[in-house]
């Protein structure tokens, strides 16, 4: 089953052709890791999956990203609906300048989804990311009072609070200490029963630990896309073999 289908996607930043005819399938309820060296277009591909590239008016996009057989780049598509269904966990934790509670409650509030049970919803999401016990007695404290690792878990809770189907993670452990990073990795593994996770990482070892499916990119093109076992065990492309052997990159 496919959660997202990318077809002939091209992205230009001004005159720079950043993504070149990318076509990949993102499997449903699996962790897909997008790997490759810096500047190969990993984050651009990720942000193309929920139309975050729209925020940059220098960017031109052609091709299709199909979600439920609807091309999210079609003119009539509701972008807010796309971004509700395809959430993002950024590289650095970026809690909104409000309380811990309000960070998680903000999304359900704007969608009017809480049915008067906002406290229960916030508790559920904070428990899902293992933060509830640490913050239960200070929910009204500013989110910035948390440690960086806690902030990233809070951001994950905030992302999950609007019940997305797909969670995009843009090197979401890169700015964390190893223990916090492992904590987030554990959470992502636990999420895949319910969510499709797409994780951009430059860390091959992390991809080995987490990925069910791997997409390897090089200079704006997809070199290889395969199930993790096949990708790491028997990579087909010479470029992939060289990258995994750390000879290039």
């Amino acid at each position: 089953m496919t959660a997202l289908s990318v077809r002939n996607l091209n992205v230009w930043y001004g005159d720079k052709h950043t993504l070149n005819d990318v076509s990949v399938e993102i499997p449903l309820r699996r962790i897909t890791c997008i790997i490759g060296p810096s500047g190969c277009g990993k984050s651009t591909l990720l942000k193309a999956l929920n139309r975050l590239l729209d925020l940059n008016d220098q960017v031109k996009v052609s091709g299709q990203v199909r979600l439920d057989d609807i091309n999210i780049y079609d003119p009539g598509v509701d972008v807010t609906e796309v971004r509700t269904r395809v959430g993002l966990l950024a590289q650095k934790p970026f809690p909104l300048p409000m309380s811990i509670f309000d960070n998680v409650a903000y999304g359900p509030r704007i969608h009017g989804r809480h049915n008067g049970k906002i406290h229960a919803l916030v508790q559920e999401q904070l428990q899902a990311v293992g933060l509830w016990d640490e913050v239960a007695d200070r929910l009204k404290a500013p989110a910035t009072s948390l440690s960086v690792g806690q902030q990233q878990r809070l951001c994950l809770a905030r992302t999950l609070s609007v019940e997305p189907e797909i969670v995009l993670c843009d090197e979401s452990t890169a700015s964390l200490d190893p223990i916090s990073a492992r904590g987030i990795e554990g959470l992502l593994c636990a999420l895949k029963d319910k969510y499709t996770v797409v994780l951009v990482t430059h860390d091959i070892d992390q991809a080995r630990r987490l990925a069910d499916h791997v997409i390897f990119m090089w200079l704006g093109e997809v070199v290889e896309s395969a199930p993790a076992g096949q990708f790491f065990g028997q990579p087909k492309e010479e470029l992939t073999q060289a990258y995994l052997a750390r000879e290039i990159g």
């Binding site: 975050l52 925020l55 008016d57 971004r83 993002l88 300048p97 905030r158 992302t159």
Partner: protein, 331 residues
């Protein structure tokens, strides 16, 4: 001095202050001290300048303050220098009223324009509009004044005035067209509003654009609309800066002299209607300094007016700073 390698393989890099006989940093340290001292002196001189101006104005105001109490000066409406009566109430009321009209005209449109430029326009539009705003800030106030005389005064006199008088004038005397000349609070306030508009727009836009991009991404990725994202950005991060923009606009409007002087009518009276002519504090000083200076306490009265002007702007800025600090701490 070379690095020392210990037996365990650790490399000890020499520090400058640990190297006897080698203190090439001395000249650099002196330069550093000089630069720091220079900057402290310049900064202190700038602050001292305000104190010196206020001190000079106070000293020159003392002859008047010895003969009349401050309360009496601020509340009396009688301005008859030849009889030694120096009531500032009409000028204070004129300044407050014309500034209020300007702020009512300018603040909301300026904030929304700033939000539009920061949150909604593409870079190309922004780069075309911003020089236009900068140009508006740089237009000399005498040009605004002339434009007001040629365009705004006739507009107010022949169209806006009769219309407001015919509609709202029945509701409140504030809207009655009491002055058929067109020179008055509304004309001056409209032009003053147009003058402070680009200033508030520019500061609002700068403040909002300084909010990290990731914050917008975080909100948008929860499925928020552009407007919800803007509200979140403005309420949580931009409010303090927007308040600072409004205070800047207020200070500019309250202290504006020439354009107001050309349009407000310069009648010593407490205005009762939007169309009344009035007199502002800066206009009082600019129109009268150098004339009739032989009258006892006349110069002292004008100095007291200047001191009052300075005090109001300073107080407003300090109060706004306190509110900005509180808002910043909260966000």
């Amino acid at each position: 001095m070379e690095a020392e390698i210990r037996r365990d393989g650790a490399v000890l890099t020499p520090r400058y202050d640990a190297a006897p006989g080698r203190r090439p940093g001395t000249a650099r340290v002196i330069k550093d001290h000089l630069a720091r001292t220079g900057m402290v002196v310049i900064s202190a001189a700038t602050c001292l300048l305000v104190v010196l101006i206020a001190g000079a104005l106070l000293i020159r105001s003392l002859p008047l303050l010895r003969t009349q109490s401050l309360g009496e000066l601020l509340t009396s409406s009688t301005w008859q220098p030849s009889h030694g009566a120096f009531g500032f109430a009409p000028f204070i009321a004129g300044s407050i009223a014309v500034t209020a009209v300007a702020m009512i005209v300018a603040v909301a449109p300026a904030i929304f324009t700033g939000i539009y430029l920061s949150e909604y326009t593409v870079a190309r539009t922004r780069t075309r509009l911003k020089p236009l705003l900068d140009l508006m800030v740089g237009i000399p106030s005498v040009v605004y004044g002339l434009w007001g005389i040629l365009f705004v005064v006739p507009l107010v006199r022949d169209h806006v005035g009769p219309w407001i008088d015919g509609t709202l004038g029945q509701v409140s005397p504030l809207f009655r067209q009491t002055n058929p000349s067109g020179y008055g609070l509304l004309s001056a306030g409209l032009v003053l509003g147009i003058m402070v508009f680009p200033l508030i727009v520019a500061v609002t836009e700068e403040v909002l654009r300084s909010v990290p991009h990731e914050m917008r991404e975080a909100v948008l990725c929860l499925g928020a609309t552009r407007w919800e994202t803007t509200l979140c950005v403005v309420r949580r991060r931009g409010m303090a800066g927007i308040l600072a923009a409004v205070v800047l606009g207020f200070s500019r409007a309250f202290g504006e002299t020439l354009a107001v002087m050309m349009l407000i009518g310069n009648s010593v009276q407490v205005p009762r209607s939007l169309f009344d002519s009035a007199y502002s504090l800066p206009a009082l000083i600019a129109n009268n300094y150098g004339e009739m200076m032989s009258l006892p306490n006349y110069e002292s009265a004008l100095m007291a007016a200047a001191l009052l002007l300075l005090a109001v702007v300073l107080l407003f800025n300090v109060a706004a700073r306190l509110v900005v600090n509180r808002l910043t701490a909260r966000s």
